[in-house]
């Protein structure tokens, strides 16, 4: 009886197991395998086992590309996520406010950045940021004189900020939608009761709105942090990882995925970049597990 049940269960699950195995586990294992070989342009089909040499090259010194790229990416995530949250929260609260008219219009207008394919948005921002002909500098010249110009993409720090800005534009609607959905599920009786008790709007937000939004915001934040960590489109299309201040150092917006793309498909260092991917994967996996446990989501769902 029990055997039959297990078999039935397995049969029902098999399409999913097969699918996950093929599209998820096989590529990961293959990547781990490539990371201990010398596969590159010169050894494309006839590569050989070289042990942990790729990992050694990767982590050998503290000023290696790996640490520069990693720290810069972590900083990028740490700056982007609070901004996503803040702008998403403000727009959602505004949309949910009874005093706002033409809600349907605003809702669509604010979601548009999310609906436009990201590469198109990225190319539009690239034009906005252009030093000479870009919209932003043309506007700036109206105030600051005909020869002025801000180094949107040519100064390393400005370029970093520009990518944050473009990324914020593309990502805040996700938070807005998540928060708006959660806001509408908060019973209005809670606010009425609070009003009876004489609570201010500020107090209502901190004591009612925010705690009740938490279960919706946390998984969205984890998901968005991972997506932001893996940013490729925005940075690559706008700056190609630049500006570059030296040929020997990664560019100012050369985040993890941009670096991986350049190494793999412009320099064909497949073995090296596979090792890079394994290390990054383990770090992300650890960070995700940690944040889920910390936020109590795993145990809540386990109950």
């Amino acid at each position: 009886m029990y055997r039959v049940r297990a078999l039935t269960t397995l049969t029902y699950l098999s399409p999913m197991i097969l699918g996950v195995g093929l599209i998820s586990f096989y590529p990961i294992l293959y990547n781990v395998f490539i990371s201990v070989t010398n596969q590159n342009l010169y050894h494309f089909k006839h590569y050989s086992f070289i042990g942990l040499a790729n990992y050694q090259a990767l982590l050998k010194t503290l000023d290696a590309d790996f640490f520069i790229v990693l720290l810069r990416t972590v900083a990028f995530v740490a700056i982007c996520i609070p901004l996503f949250l803040a702008v998403g929260m403000i727009t959602a609260l505004a949309l949910n406010h009874p005093a706002i008219r033409f809600k349907a219009f605003w809702r669509v207008a604010l979601i548009v950045p999310w609906a436009v394919p990201s590469y198109i948005t990225a190319l539009i921002w690239k034009f906005f940021f252009n030093g000479q002909f870009g919209t932003l500098n043309q506007l700036y010249r109206l105030i600051a004189g005909p020869n002025a110009g801000l180094p949107w993409l040519t100064d390393p720090n400005w370029a970093f900020g520009s990518i944050v800005l473009a990324n914020l534009w593309m990502s805040y609607p996700f938070f807005m939608v998540v928060i708006l959905g959660a806001l509408q599920s908060i019973p209005s009786e809670l606010y009425e009761a609070a009003a009876v008790d004489g609570a201010t709007a500020w107090r209502k937000f901190w004591r009612i709105t925010l705690p009740l939004l938490r279960p919706a915001i946390l998984p969205a934040t984890v998901l968005s942090a991972i997506l932001t960590f893996n940013t490729l489109n925005t940075a690559f299309l706008i700056t190609q990882g630049g500006p570059f201040t030296s040929a020997a150092k990664p560019g100012a917006t050369e985040f993890v995925m941009v670096y991986a793309f350049r190494e793999a498909f412009q320099l064909f260092n497949f073995g090296y970049i596979a090792a890079f991917a394994v290390v990054i994967f383990m770090m992300l996996f650890g960070a995700t597990l940690g944040s889920l446990r910390f936020s109590g989501l795993v145990s809540e769902e386990g109950r």
Partner: protein, 398 residues
């Protein structure tokens, strides 16, 4: 017209070693990057072939990122029958096993009889023939006839700097000469013209040589005479709008300049003392895909495409310099001013390196140029960093 084509095919078939046994049927897939009028005039030749041999189907597939597509396909042991691209990829694709030699279908005597020496060299790698050359291209100095007199064209590199400075000073918002100063391909005339080089076939990197430094210093001397953020697109737009008197660009650009109403002339790049500036000469080449199941038919199509008659008629619209020397010698081809103009520049050029090591150089050179152009590094510091980065890349490829 059909009768003529049939005669051409017969003449072509006669010289082919495999024509007696070749069964002309099947499907041939061609990956290419042709666009606009280029595509139309090239498609016409393939259409003529399928009209002659109705059992043959030719699929022309446009690949916007062709080099990436070929790399990805090679990894999966797949690919088209013919790849139409530039010869600089031959070394890399041979290593990736994306293309295979044509030696069973053509011999060197046929190649030497049909094509210019530079084109045959470009299609040859490690002593084997990897493609049939189509057209030759190199960047040159284009000028707007309304803005510059022929007599005022700078003949030396110093005169070009002076011209650019004076022009930019006398007409604010306008520029004497523009090009993309942050790209390795566009700086080759200065680097190779002043005796420097990027990389040799054995992997020797030449970025810290005195010649390369001189070339970099020359590029840097145009700071202030070109827009700070200039790139390929901006240079192109400035020339089209008449805001730049001259541009350094290649044969692919002129059709657009005609369309934009620019009355342009083609001059050769200036001299570094007694040595001419030497642009890279690239050869558009049809290559045989490594996974072609019908290589004999693919080779036959390549021969048909690159023969004298088809190339002579094709370049009437594309204005490309044919690699087929019989077509190039044809008076109808010589009469095309664009071909004569770019042809003169090609004579001063150096072959676009087809060693796979070149793929390790584009990136560091571009970064060093950017660091110099934006003033973040001195020429010496930028080139020393680029030399070590390129050497590291080359070592990884070995």
């Amino acid at each position: 017209m059909l009768a003529l084509l049939a005669m051409v095919a017969a003449a072509c078939g006669g010289s082919s070693t495999t024509s007696t046994t070749l069964n002309r049927s099947g499907t041939i897939t061609i990956w290419h990057g042709y666009e606009g009028t280029y595509l139309d005039s090239k498609k016409a030749i393939y259409d003529a072939y399928t009209k002659l041999y109705p059992n043959v189907t030719i699929n022309l597939v446009h690949k916007p990122t062709l080099t990436d597509a070929v790399t990805a396909a090679a990894g999966a042991s797949q690919g088209p029958d013919i790849i139409a691209w530039v010869d600089d990829q031959i070394g890399k694709w041979q290593k990736l096993e994306a293309i295979k030699p044509l030696d069973s279908y053509v011999d060197s005597s046929y190649m030497n009889a049909q094509f210019t020496k530079a084109a045959v060299d470009a299609a040859t790698f490690d002593g084997k023939i990897y493609g049939m050359p189509e057209a030759v291209e190199a960047i040159s100095l284009l000028y707007n006839k309304k803005l510059v007199n022929v007599a005022d064209l700078p003949k030396t590199t110093d005169a070009l700097v002076t011209f650019a400075k004076n022009y930019a000073n006398s007409k604010p918002g306008n520029y004497g000469v523009v090009w993309n100063p942050k790209d390795a391909y566009f700086q080759a005339p200065w680097i190779y013209g002043s005796g420097g080089f990027y990389v040799k076939a054995d992997g020797t990197v030449g970025l810290s040589t005195a010649g390369t430094k001189a070339g970099f210093n020359y590029v840097a001397s145009f700071k202030g005479s070109m827009p700070a953020g200039v790139d390929y697109g901006i240079a192109d737009t400035l020339f089209k709008e008449g805001k730049a008197a001259m541009i350094i660009n290649g044969p692919w650009s002129v059709a657009d300049y005609t369309k934009a109403g620019v009355d342009y002339g083609i001059a050769t790049l200036p001299m570094f003392g007694t040595k001419p500036a030497s642009p890279f000469v690239g050869v558009k080449t049809l290559m045989l895909g490594a996974y072609s199941t019908n290589p004999a038919l693919a080779a036959d199509i390549m021969k048909f495409f690159t023969n004298k008659e088809n190339q002579t008629s094709m370049v009437q619209t594309t204005k490309e310099i044919p690699a087929n020397k019989l077509a190039l010698a044809d008076p109808k081809v010589q009469a095309i001013t664009d071909i004569a103009g770019f042809g003169a520049q090609v004579k001063n050029g150096v072959p676009l390196p087809n060693t796979p090591f070149m793929s390790a150089l584009w990136d560091p050179v571009a970064k060093a140029l950017e660091a110099v152009w934006t003033g973040k590094q001195s020429v010496d510091a930028a080139l020393s960093d680029a030399q070590s980065a390129a050497e590291k890349n080359v070592a990884q490829l070995k």
